[in-house]
Symmetry: C4
Subunit: 239 residues, 4 copies
């Protein structure tokens, strides 16, 4: 993760890309841990990702307290992000989304989302589902509105890449912003493929060994974010 | 609901947004109750929503009689709107659409559309289906062409948010224009998710308690329309 | 059907609209019977519909002989059109397409496409399937390459609105160009809805009485083509 | 296959077309055999196809050694291409893609992709699946990273048009660039149709005789690439 200016710029681009690629709609959000202050994260004020600009970015303490709100209203569910940064020192970027393709898996009683395509090895394995009702009862509006709920969700993510949120969406984490965008896109594509494969009958998922690998060369830069990131930023209108 | 000028402007924007978001195609319509005259509503002349402009708007009595047609031809099915305003003093905006995702649920003999995602709590519960043939026989063209048919449909909506119309589409109501747009989009997204969840087997719908909640903060403005409305109006080309 | 200039202009627009609306891709074609010479029809030279201009239009005898080819190569499958005009004096426009949504119905051994939504009453009833192998053996490339094959297909259309062509596409006919475009779009939407309804279980199709009706007022102009045609032509870039 | 300048231009266009038509995303690649040197092929450096320009093109030996890399990084999986050119003197163009529609078929234990629509006769018959684990174990990242793996895949393609790669994508070959683009698009459309047809029950696939035919006239130019190629190049922004 480079300097603050780069982090803020990547975050603005990620907002637009995630909308452009159908991962988020008017709702959903993405954040980055402050490159100089690991006890802070940066995220837009409550605005649709497709409209986010640098002037919308707010710095938060991990408990969700805004440090420079200046009248701007934060996302209600920012606690999803703070709790992940709190639990996972390795995580530098978090995305909360309501991607359509994973929602059926979030409410299914019998089928779990699991990696079946090579780019989805980053998902790590069978994807856990966090049901807010398990700890907080069946009378909520499903939103994560405080740190207690955020930490409950973070425990289900554990040391993994993501968790689904029953009837709501998902939270995805990564070591950098391009990585969280790539993971969200892999999650979405995998869900579409797995859903169709289930209609065809039995299928071959990624093996334990394949799950440990990443689709990169044995040595050298991981091609996944670079080649895609250049294309995604261009598609979203950035040079 | 603000003044007449705002209501008319929001109505024009809603027409474009509903088309842009795939809720309506060349057919379908949206109206608003007159902010100053609860015994009137405002809707475009018979024109595809994507083309509606302020000059297309006509004021109607609740029984569908145009007050200022000036040669402009009204929608044949305006009675859907008038009957809802007549039966529901709380309703300030109505949308009739033929959204593809809900049509299979409108003709299914065994499956009812029901809220499974958090934004669809606004749908209230299992969605009723109005079959025109029940009261008007099996020899109609399925269109609601008079107040008698409109009132029959309104009775099935009852105190709820919407009803499906067998083999035809849906009618959706709300307390304001952004609310009716949000409800239509939630209906559409929920239908897509529920359809796929059904392919996976048993699933967890929203609980009774979750249905009563709205995905907003315990206190403060409902984030649903605002954040989305800003994005939706921009996508449709309005500043 | 108006004068020749109007017919040619509508035909050019229909080509662009059918592509814009996903009915045809680089293949597929639409024609119009010559308004002054019922023993001729007009269709583009072999060019993707999205690119067709007035200069591409060729006049044909019903047997497919071009009258003014001037070096332009006609569509190989023009015999689909000529045979329909020959058999059906009431038909003034024909479209041959490979629309994805109807192809599964064209090869299904057990399920027939049938009207389930109100705009699809124009399809008339259960849609017949023409299998070229029935008369011409299992060694063809499925294309209709002469009048004998065109007439075989036309017999299956009979007095109806359309027929599917096994593993290939469909032929759709109407009394004018806006009508053939509307029928193609209704066919496509109906197929999408019926396909999903089948996944849900038993469903309610349009009744015999509903099939006879059109979604228009009891008296007055059919709203279906007008409102849609204005929108469709605009979407395709025409004023 | 014409001269080098034409081949390079067609290759650049193919990159953009394949992205535009949804065959490839930021990953996937297409190459052409050098028209003057059958022991070389030309392909872009590791860049998303939608961005490829002539300056990105590199010439390779069939074993994947770049001849004029000049600091540009090649695709890791170029061995897919070299192995095909090596095994198949008739092949002049190769595409590797991760097209979503075929991925479920690549992991299905019971269902094989097979031609059901007329444009897919070019696929030749039931499409074989290459599973990297068969020869290289269950501990790979599924990528083809050397000639040994490339040749293993090429053996499964054999004398055919394509093979699926389990959990990964496909490799498609043709006698020229427009042909490989057309084959990829036919593969994609066929997969969508076959998938839906399977949901409906039993279906009629192309017969053995129909598989041998191509949807062209008995004599004359194959219409498939020409009419489509003109449209596809225009859609991708080329005159």
């Amino acid at each position: 993760m480079a300097d603050l200016k780069t982090a803020r710029h990547e975050l603005v681009m990620a907002n637009r890309i995630l909308f452009n690629e159908g991962i988020v709609d008017a709702f959903g959000h993405v954040s980055v841990r402050h490159p100089d202050h690991p006890d802070r994260y940066i995220m837009a004020r409550a605005r649709a990702p497709e409209l986010v600009e640098d002037a919308d970015l707010i710095e938060f303490q991990l408990d969700g307290t805004p440090l420079d709100a200046a009248g701007r209203v934060p996302y209600l569910e920012r606690f999803i992000h703070g709790a992940m940064y709190e639990q996972r020192p390795d995580v530098m970027s978090v995305c909360h989304n309501h991607t359509v393709s994973i929602l059926p898996f979030s409410i299914s009683k019998s089928v779990r989302l699991r990696p079946v395509i090579h780019t989805a090895s980053v998902l790590g394995g069978e994807v856990p589902v966090w049901d807010i009702a398990d700890e907080f009862g069946s009378d909520t509006n499903l939103l994560v509105i405080n740190m207690e709920q955020g930490r409950s969700l973070a425990r289900v993510v554990g040391q993994g890449r993501l968790a689904l949120m029953r009837g709501h969406g998902s939270v995805v984490v990564a070591a950098d912003i391009p990585g969280v965008v790539a993971a969200c896109m892999a999650m979405d594509k995998n869900a579409r493929v797995q859903f169709q494969a289930l209609q065809l009958g039995e299928f071959i998922p990624l093996s334990a060994g394949e799950l440990r690998r990443r689709p990169v060369a044995a040595s050298g830069q991981p091609p996944l974010p670079d080649r895609a990131w250049e294309a995604l930023t261009r598609r979203a209108g950035f040079h």
